[in-house]
């Protein structure tokens, strides 16, 4: 089983290498987007002196960079890929493969994201570090951050996959991707940390899993939580993972009852 996944990993990496021309443009685009965020925070925090409460500009630069890393790791096109497979009928073959479809798709996506992290994420982080300086965490916080980032990847993949399964009803993945993207932007705290949210909106975020994918792991990294609070974040991520795993099973059962294969 592991051998199969490793073969998939190396295949995905080789495939991605075919597009290395694109990588340069992606790095430039990512640097632009991070630069914009840094300028916005410099303009916002500059007005009220060097700091706003206990949030400083280096904190926010680090926040932006960490959010970028998490977004690189959690970004998926699972819904697109599912839709393509449903439309051309190749999902029929996927169902008789010796690996479960979800496992295959998750691992393929993870391989692509790891590639993106190494070849377009890392250069961006180095540039950010050189130009604006990043806050370094303690070893404990770094370890907790890595753990919660891994769980964040699992949560986001499951959310996107469950939304993606609805292509069996609506036959188009693009809009599900937009929908999840919109919910993520508003409720995850990836662009604006939840510290700055109006209380009513922050309260809604409490009840949704999205903040566990961006805001909470970054807060752990920045040392805004003590060890116990950080463990509480990880525990909550595990609870949400369980909820999502069960939901996926339920939706998948409904899909199997409904599925008919087009073309072939």
């Amino acid at each position: 089983m592991t051998g199969m996944y490793l073969a998939l990993l190396s295949r995905t990496f080789r495939l991605q290498f075919q597009y290395r021309g694109e990588t340069f443009f992606r790095i430039a685009g990512n640097i632009i987007r991070i630069y914009i965020q840094v300028c916005i925070w410099a303009a916002l925090l500059g007005v009220s002196g060097a700091a706003d409460g206990d949030v400083t500009l280096p904190d926010m630069v680090t926040y932006v960079a960490a959010a970028f890393v998490l977004r690189t790791l959690t970004r998926t096109t699972l819904a697109h890929k599912l839709a393509d497979r449903v439309r051309d009928g190749s999902v029929a073959v996927d169902l008789i493969r010796p690996v479960p479809l979800i496992g295959y798709m998750f691992f393929e996506q993870l391989s692509e994201n790891l590639f993106a992290l190494v070849f377009s994420g890392l250069p961006v982080i180095i540039v950010s570090c050189a130009f604006w300086g990043l806050v370094l965490p303690s070893a404990l916080n770094l370890a907790l951050f890595i753990l919660s980032a891994l769980l964040a990847v699992l949560l986001m993949f499951y959310i996107e996959y469950i939304f993606g399964l609805f292509v069996f009803w609506i036959k188009n993945g693009t809009h599900m991707v937009m929908l999840v993207g919109g919910l993520f932007t508003v409720f995850s705290g990836a662009t604006v940390p939840l510290w700055f949210y109006p209380p009513a909106l922050a309260a809604v975020c409490e009840w949704l899993p999205f903040r566990l994918i961006a805001f909470e792991p970054i807060s752990v990294y920045l040392g805004k939580y003590d060890a116990w609070q950080a463990l509480r974040v990880i525990l909550l991520q595990l609870v949400w993972a369980a909820v999502l795993i069960v939901s996926e099973r339920l939706v998948w059962r409904a899909v199997q009852r409904r599925m008919f294969i087009q073309g072939g």
């Binding site: 021309g21 694109e22 443009f25 992606r26 430039a28 685009g29 632009i32 987007r33 630069y35 914009i36 300028c39 916005i40 410099a42 303009a43 916002l44 007005v47 009220s48 009803w169 609506i170 036959k171 188009n172 693009t174 809009h175 599900m176 937009m178 929908l179 993207g181 919109g182 919910l183 932007t185 508003v186 662009t191 604006v192 700055f196 949210y197 109006p198 909106l201």
Partner: protein, 266 residues
């Protein structure tokens, strides 16, 4: 007039096919509403907390945002499907068909790729502009309305030129998708906030090299009675000429591209 009738016939077919799947159309509209309103929501969240960015208050920033979104959607209705997919259509040989028709290739190609998906964007964009006019007490005179329409028209032309110019290199290099992402989507994201918060080099870039600032920043200066731009105050009146010039250049480059076109033969 013949062209107009032809266009209406093409557009009708496109709209009908897109409306055929009601469920999908509904989900698409809903997802577009959510995806585009998130931008407005985040600006409001940020500026409710911080009051102003670079001296611009919440409704002033929303005004910028709405101008960009509305012109993007209007231009996108005609140029998004056609030009976003141009590299793929060239690679797969689909583009051959466009050249065999007895009308101008640009006209035919754009008309057969009209998108019905932007209706909700017009509504959101116009509503936000109306709210901004009210909240910022911009006088609703005939002159202002005519000027707003001129600015939107100019903005549309700049956006259209952007769609064309960032995808036309596909005629030469076939695989050019990343050019559009970088030089259209990424560079345009500078416009979400007043460009005065960026380094001088960036302000020069979006004014003279890729003049996207004429879509929203400079025309907004006129409506908001601001003169905080780095360059001459005359720039706030230049949206329409800049748009017309860029669109003219874009069509010229498109024509060169078409003449250069060799079918991939697939």
């Amino acid at each position: 007039m013949y062209a107009l009738r032809l266009y209406m016939a093409f557009a009708k077919v496109r709209f009908m096919t897109q409306l055929e799947y009601r469920g999908e159309y509904f989900v698409r509209t809903l997802s577009k509403i959510i995806a585009w309103s998130t931008g407005f929501i985040m600006v409001m969240v940020l500026l409710t907390r911080f009051q102003a960015v670079g001296g611009w208050t919440v409704y002033e920033v929303l005004f910028l945002y709405a101008l960009n979104m509305l012109t993007h959607s209007l231009a996108g209705t005609f140029f998004m499907n056609s030009f976003e997919n141009l590299p793929r259509n060239i690679r797969q040989g689909v583009f051959d068909g466009v050249l065999t028709k007895p009308v101008s290739p640009l006209f035919y190609y754009v008309c057969t790729n009209v998108s019905a998906g932007y209706t909700s964007n017009y509504v959101i964009g116009v509503s936000v502009l109306v709210v901004c006019f009210a909240k910022l007490s911009i006088p609703v005179t005939l002159l202002n309305i005519v000027w707003l329409i001129a600015v939107i028209l100019g903005g549309c032309l700049i956006q259209a030129a952007g769609f064309i110019l960032t995808n036309v290199p596909a005629f030469w290099i076939l695989k050019s998708e990343s050019l559009m992402t970088l030089f259209f989507d990424d560079v345009k994201s500078f416009l979400q906030y007043p460009i005065t918060i960026y380094a001088v080099g960036i302000q020069v870039l979006v004014t003279f090299v890729l003049p996207y600032a004429f879509i929203s920043f400079y025309p907004a200066q006129y409506f908001l009675g601001r003169e905080d731009a780095l360059f001459h105050p005359l720039f706030q009146y230049l949206t329409l000429p800049v748009g017309a010039l860029l669109y003219f250049v874009a069509v010229k480059v498109w024509n060169i591209g078409i003449n250069r076109y060799n079918s991939t033969g697939s």
